[in-house]
Amino acid sequence: MAEVVLQHVMKYYGSMAAVNDVNFTVNHGEFVALVGPSGCGKTTTLNLIAGLLPMSGGDIKIGDRIVNDLDPKDRDIAMVFQNYALYPNKTVFQNLAFPLQMRKLPKDEINRKVQEAAKVLDITHLLERKPRELSGGQQQRVALGRALVRDPAVFLMDEPLSNLDAKLRVQMRSEIKRFHQDLNATIVYVTHDQLEAVTMADKMAVMNGGLLQQYDTPAQVFANPVNMFVASFIGSPAMSLVPLDVATVDGKTVLTSAEGWNLPLSDANARKVAGASSRKVVLGARHSTIKLHKSQVAGSVPSKVYTVEPTGDITFVQAFLSGAIVNISLPPTASVAPDEMVWLEFDQERIHLFDGETEMALRAA
């Protein structure tokens, strides 16, 4: 096991930078999720770490070796692919044995290692089957097994759960998490599903447009998103973002809407917006931090309900606010109807403020 270090990693396709100056360090035994929308460069980054693509610039270190020019097989990595990539003409046993045979290990050692891995993953009874005779979950376990037998320094996983159905995905999610804990494995895990990243990873690297947006623990990324992209990508339902203007009313800083209402800011928040590059500011709030009132209370702003979505233990309400849609979660007992006028109250301690021009989070100076 070892750490993985990416320094100024670049990957160009023509003049398009698929991966643009990405830097991060995966510590020994850490589970890092690369997360972002399609085309954000996360899979390319993983393939660069694996050595399946040549880099355009920068350095990748695995352990204490710079591996830039090493073949995938010499990088001491194992990879798990989205559609498992099991050899269809080989049995499960032969699939697990393949990387060891390529390493020219003696037969009895191969046999022992395959049996061990099969035992860990509970697939001993499947060893004589062909991949097509297995369910999706079983195939995924075999793919994990093929990575496991190698005893690699780093496990690279490319959306390993996205081909599974929803129920199995939740189950395999905890199995992979367990796998990580039991083996103390270093894992780099690519996913487009922020929920997977948040639930499994020690750290997450949020990527967009080839750029690393934020690299931190899921809790930090959730609580302190650095910009509007991260804020809207992490969390479900997404953080509501309402573009507003800064104004001063009676010597107090307020956010003002074209709809004609003002939202007074606390002193701390007023200091944050003072640092904005223009008067345009975006107000961000997560669904659970917004209170919904049936009548006006101090500091609340008027809004109109768009949809009401009961999910059982939480009812999600979408409401229009200054041209944007705001998500609010309510207890299932709440009775709200579409098109009803309501008043929303924001928790000044927990709102996020973003610069309307740069889209970066505003921090207290």
């Binding site: 393939n47 995938p72 097989k73 990879m79 050899y87 003409n89 990387p99 390529m102 097509r132 005779e133």
Partner: protein, 318 residues
Amino acid sequence: MTTLAGHANAPRGSIPARPSILQQMWTSRADYLYVLPAIVVMLIVIAYPIYYTIELSFFKTPPGLQLRDKIFVGADNYTAILSSEVFWRVTINTVIWTLASTLIAFVLGYGAALALHRDFAGRAVLRAILIIPWVISAVAASYIWKWMYHSDFGIIGQVLVQFGFTDRQPNFIDNVHTVLPSLIVVNIWREFPFAMIMIMAGLQTVPEQLLRAARVDGASTWQRFWHVTFPHLRGVSTVTILLLAVANFNSFIIPWIMTGGGPSNASHIWITHIYELAFGRQRWGVAAAYSVLLFVILMALGYFYVRALSGNEKEQGA
């Protein structure tokens, strides 16, 4: 709600008895009507000729006689064929021609497809050039090669002489020993692009992730081919070989135009021989008997073809 659920379950208990096959045919009578014209045409252009050929194979048709005055001879035509020396000569030629053409064309096409699958400058041009033999007319190709093999003016002979491999121009297609291999070379040249195209299409379907997985697992280029690509192409390879085999078994143009089966039957294969018997010597009955034998052999090949195809489906469907 409960009554609704009970209602929805009701039909499950009382599945009606399966209608008899006649009833089924009657309910879909319109469908039969739609395919009727096609069936009639098929009967006229396929079934009747097959029947007539089988019938004719039991008759003798002396050249002086009208075809309708044919004389019934039982299985004489068959016994005559099987006991004739020419039959065995032609059969051996056909086997050599089919096996050599099919296997060598397949291996060459396979190799060309693998070479062209990699990305390099000029790949598209090279691919277009390699397909030329397959798209030009077989008749034209035969005449071109006939000239290239010519014993006085042929370019191949001249090159051999110039480079000192031989003193005088070899007589490729007028020599009983070299004529069949020479024709096989032309045939391979003409049909290896077909194998190449088939294998190239197959190569596009090799999952990229499998090749990457094999690379991470430490497989070399050759090992990736042997463990991933080759097994993946097994289905398309089987089909290609069978199609080539059937086409070669039925070859006519190249041997007929280049040599007409000669010299002394050395390049006769079944089809050219049947053609000569029927249209050259008017021995319709013997030619028909030959055709029936050929038909049986090709049906057997067709059976394997269908089995190979359905075998693939089973593998991919499961």
